[in-house]
Amino acid sequence: MSAVMEGRADGPTLRQRLAARGIDGATLLVLPCVALILGLFIYPFLYGLMLSFEPKDGSLFGNYARFFSEPFLYGTIFKTLRLAFPVTLLNLLIAIPIAFRVRLLRRQRLLTTLLVLPITLGTVLVAEGMLFYFGPQGWFNRSLMAVGLLSTPVSVLNGYWGVFISLVLTGFPFTFLLTLSYVSGIDPSLENAAATLGAGPAARFREVFLPLLVPGLAITFCLSFVQAYSVLPSAVLVGDPANVTRVISIAAYQAAFEEYDYSMASAIAMIMGAVQLLVVVAVLGCRSLFYRGPAAGAKG
């Protein structure tokens, strides 16, 4: 009994001190994840990074120098940005109003299930579907011609808009579901409070919802953007991979599997990662200007 008392008098035990820093038994569960990340992400990344500094010509920065001197290569950065930025923005802009409507629905489960489907189908299947739908004999052209809006079939495919549409189709469900979860996380009584204080729908959105949503929307934007930026299958299948939709992953693919220059391919992959990182850091940096915390009106 007295020993216990003395132990207490000495101050907190090692376990208590660790717990105070957030370290306890459950923390150990992180270890398998760390191992996985090290093995599947960090190691290949470092390997690729090293590889990118061993170009065929023997110089340290040869690959990077070549990439940024050839418009055919460095142009892919902007071609990809030209696709990924508007697509992500459009997805987000469509997702927000729909999420606001859906948040009030009772049968959300059915809708979310329907929306998860395109995600599970994957980009290749969607691109193939588009080939039929938008093809010269597809429903799109045939119905527009039947109504008289078109006289000859238009070619949506094999160009910028083909990839754009495919990215919207495959990216939207993901963007929407994330947005919906952020929107429904906002306590509806906040909207009620704003309304009784005289705020109309627009003011409620501007003053209450938007500031509370911005951090979540920023994350949604980043995740959707990264997804769109690494587009490959649809850029080839429904785009114009030699010209307008020669995205950066095509350049990497060609370097690796057509020129067999793995070092160059690694360098392109690094550049691609750097561009994504730059955008993500910029967006998340802006996020810190906003309130980040629980979006509820009461505590406890």
Binding site: A193, T196, L197, G198
Partner: protein, 360 residues
């Protein structure tokens, strides 16, 4: 221009109903509130108090009936068009705005110029004693402080009708008394009309001009605090007004105003409040309701015999619990201490005993 920003003479609820699927939360409320009145809406948890406020504020559409300001119909208007102030039961403070911004929100929405806005926010902060917390976010405040921000935010716009949903429930006893006076003072200085939800009878009695007792979505009684305190019209209302003892008995006859009730062999006198179905004939079952403070040991051979079960010291006197022969617990007051297990008799003034004949 909101309807509420113009003044009104009377607020009418006419058969206001509200249904949630198959469940009827409000079963047709009829009530007229005069301008400047302080109304307390009193009732047990789940009786529909919040629902009633939400319907008045426009946050829930009514399923039937009408809400009128004089002769203007307001139940069809959106909440921002009604312009009623509301203090939410869960505060609903904007988590991303400082206390100052929260309180200034309504004024900003009404386009009040900045210097005046600042002045009024300062006054509101002072009224709820939160001057030192103005720059904090709601998440950094205690529950009671949040509650006071919610009060300040609602009253700073000086709405003609203020709806408060248990605004003091989270405060300690001392602060609750202070805020109670402050709410009453603000109500009077603004000349506003207040509907104040509470389930604390003391709060209702001390604040309100009139009390509306709600039970299971229906109004049980409306009256001044004195009326309700002395003569509740219903056993439920009596329950709320502190008539803690309910004793089953059998009517034996009438003696003028008073009913004679046989309780386990002892006849006591009480004021007849509601007659049993089919008239107050002898032999009908009835319930006597007595406040513990009014029930005292008689010291004579009169009164209901009980065995003393427990006695507590209450400062000014003693609070006892006695058990009758049939096992009914009776709470009573005693000026002097009593032995546990002692056999005594309890009695009360006829004027302090209420007899209800229609209790189920």
């Amino acid at each position: 221009m909101t309807v509420g920003s113009t003044t009104f003479k009377q607020l009418h609820l006419q058969g206001v109903r509200r249904e949630f699927d198959a469940f009827t939360a409000l079963k047709g409320l009829d009530l007229t509130v005069e301008r400047g009145e302080f109304i307390a809406l009193l009732g047990p948890s789940g009786c529909g108090k919040t629902t009633a406020l939400n319907c008045i504020a426009g946050l829930l559409p009514v399923s039937g009936g009408r809400i009128m300001l004089d002769d203007r119909r307001v139940d069809v208007l959106r909440p921002e068009e009604r312009g009623f102030g509301m203090v939410f039961q869960n505060y609903a403070l904007f988590p991303h705005m400082t206390v100052r911004k929260n309180i200034g929100f309504g004024l900003r929405m009404r386009g009040v110029p900045k210097p005046e806005l600042e002045k009024r926010v300062d006054a509101a902060l002072a009224a709820v004693r939160l001057e030192s917390q103005a720059q904090k976010l709601p998440g950094q405040l205690s529950g009671g402080q949040q509650q006071r921000v919610a009060i300040a935010r609602a009253i700073v716009v000086e709405p003609p009708l203020v709806l408060m949903d248990e605004p003091l429930s989270n405060l300690d006893a001392k602060l609750r008394l202070e805020m109670r006076q402050e709410i009453r003072r603000i109500h009077q200085s603004l000349g506003s009309t207040t509907i104040y939800v509470t389930h604390d009878q003391e709060e209702a009695l001390s604040l309100a001009d009139r009390i509306v007792v709600l039970r299971d979505g229906a109004i049980r009684q409306v009256g001044t605090p004195a009326e309700l305190y002395a003569l509740p019209a219903h056993l439920d209302v009596a329950d709320f007004m502190g008539f803690r003892n309910r004793v089953d008995g059998e009517l034996v006859g009438m003696e003028g105003e008073n009913a004679l009730l046989d309780i386990e062999g002892t006849v006591i006198r009480g004021r007849m409040r509601t007659a049993p179905a089919g008239g107050a004939a002898a032999g009908k079952a009835a319930v006597a309701a007595i406040r513990p403070d009014d029930l005292e040991p008689t010291g004579t051979a009169d009164g209901i015999p009980v065995r003393v079960e427990a006695v507590e010291y209450r400062g000014r006197g003693f609070h006892g619990v006695g058990v009758t022969a049939s096992g009914t617990e009776l709470h009573f007051a005693s000026p002097h201490p009593l032995e546990r297990g002692a056999a005594i008799r309890l009695g009360a003034d006829a004027g302090r005993v209420l007899v209800f004949g229609d209790a189920r």
